[in-house]
Amino acid sequence: MISDFLEADLVDLSWLISTRELSSADVVTAALERLRSLEPKLNAFITVLDEPALAAAKAADDEIAHGQRRGPLHGVPITIKDMFATSGVRTTGASKILLDWVPNFDAHIVERLHAAGAIIVGKTNLDEFGHGGTSTLSHFGPVHNPWNTERIAGGSSGGSAAAVAARICPVSYGTETGSSVRRPASYCGIVGFKPTFGIISRYGSFRGAWSQDHVGIFARSVKDIALGLEATAGYDSRDPSSVRQDTPTYASHLDGNIKSLRVAILPRFLEGVDSAVKEAFEIAVKALADAGCVIEDLDIPELRYAAMTSMMTSAAESAGINRGWFRERHQDFVPHVARGLAVGMTITASEYLTVQRARHRIRQALHEAYENIHLIVTPTTARVAPPIAEGVKGNGDDTRHASYNHSNLLRFPSMLGLPGCSVPCGISPDGMPIGMQIIGAWFADQTVLNAAWAYQSLTDWHRQKPAVCQ
């Protein structure tokens, strides 16, 4: 039985806490109870912060009672991927290598979330150091999908997606190098947003591949995503890729009027997409057209090379990052991750530079495309979440599958640093959620959020509940 208020979005929950109809302590207690009751089914968490969370919730209640409310996240339970350093709390990256590592500093987003008064109730499970797309490559075992616990949650931020889908918390923070926010969001039937590269500082999070790593956000509504983005976006000199930007105000600028937005679809890359996914996507595109978007077919042939370019970049950079541990402790990595690092170790400098030339050519092609369109929309994934029994190959994520047609659509936004949002757009005949991703030009984050918000206002797919909530 779920406490009704755990069904609430961040916006509603925040209002209830701010008006003191609910106390943060009660909400956090309920979130922790729900987490504990579902954890045997989901395995979504690595570390649970019962006592610190309850102490922070009581402090939040005191501040709010004294008129010192800090903002929409104050007193609200949230979760973060165990990729982010937390001072005094172990931070593992889902790896045996850091099983007992307790940092003495906070990651940027943790600092910002503490400042906003958010209550971190747990650190979520993932593929080891973000190297995977299934959340089965964890030292702590696989994450299970709340819609069907025999299926994967997607990765690498699978624990975060599962926690939000299962109504443990309204918002969670993850990271994305290839598709690690949008894919699990799609598989778990929630919203997942990855901003433009540099909008949220990555200081204090483990690197997957430095030129592709992003911090991303999970929620059940786009407005909650916007609020979660506002709390964490902003310049940070500790991340060399951080972008100078105005004080972020995404939520107050949400605009559901999407008339005349030019929205492109890429038919060339839809071949091979599962029929149920394709059908749901076509209905979603029609909804955008009915809302006034101008839909057009577009061909960007260079995207055929996107998945292989992204995967080669990831392989080389992750091998560089993990070089020391690979040589000294390779047996402590999850075996599949160790093999992937080995392949990356064999890439030479000149080959890496060749890959970056290819990446530049694809970037130029997208730059030209966005001169004439506002958004690209595609199915987020080619099929719904596969069974856990299919293992890591269930996602077509091995290098040998790099030329798999739809993977190009999933991988190009992170490789190029474009803002992207996956929104639920259907349910398959076997009861699994389907997602549509909306991709904007560089720094068109607000346009992406507006389109996602407008789409959500026309549909109720984001209100469907997974099996564990029935």
Partner: protein, 65 residues
């Protein structure tokens, strides 16, 4: 360079880290695939400019309003 030499050259980059025969078979098949991909990417990118990856301090960049 023969295929065997090419594999030997690549595996030498592992820096002495040893894998089981089964793991090595997987790694080798991935390397075969990677070689194919690199050939494709080289052809695709051959007339593309080399990319500068230099980062400049933000505070030194001119402002464009």
């Amino acid at each position: 360079m023969s295929e065997n030499d090419r594999f030997a050259h690549r595996l030498a980059l592992l820096g002495g880290v040893e894998f089981s025969p089964t793991d090595l078979e997987t790694i080798t098949s991935e390397i075969v695939d990677m070689d194919r991909i690199l050939t494709e990417l080289e052809q695709f990118a051959h007339d593309t400019p080399w990319v500068s990856l230099q980062a400049q301090p933000n505070e030194k960049k001119p402002h464009h309003d």
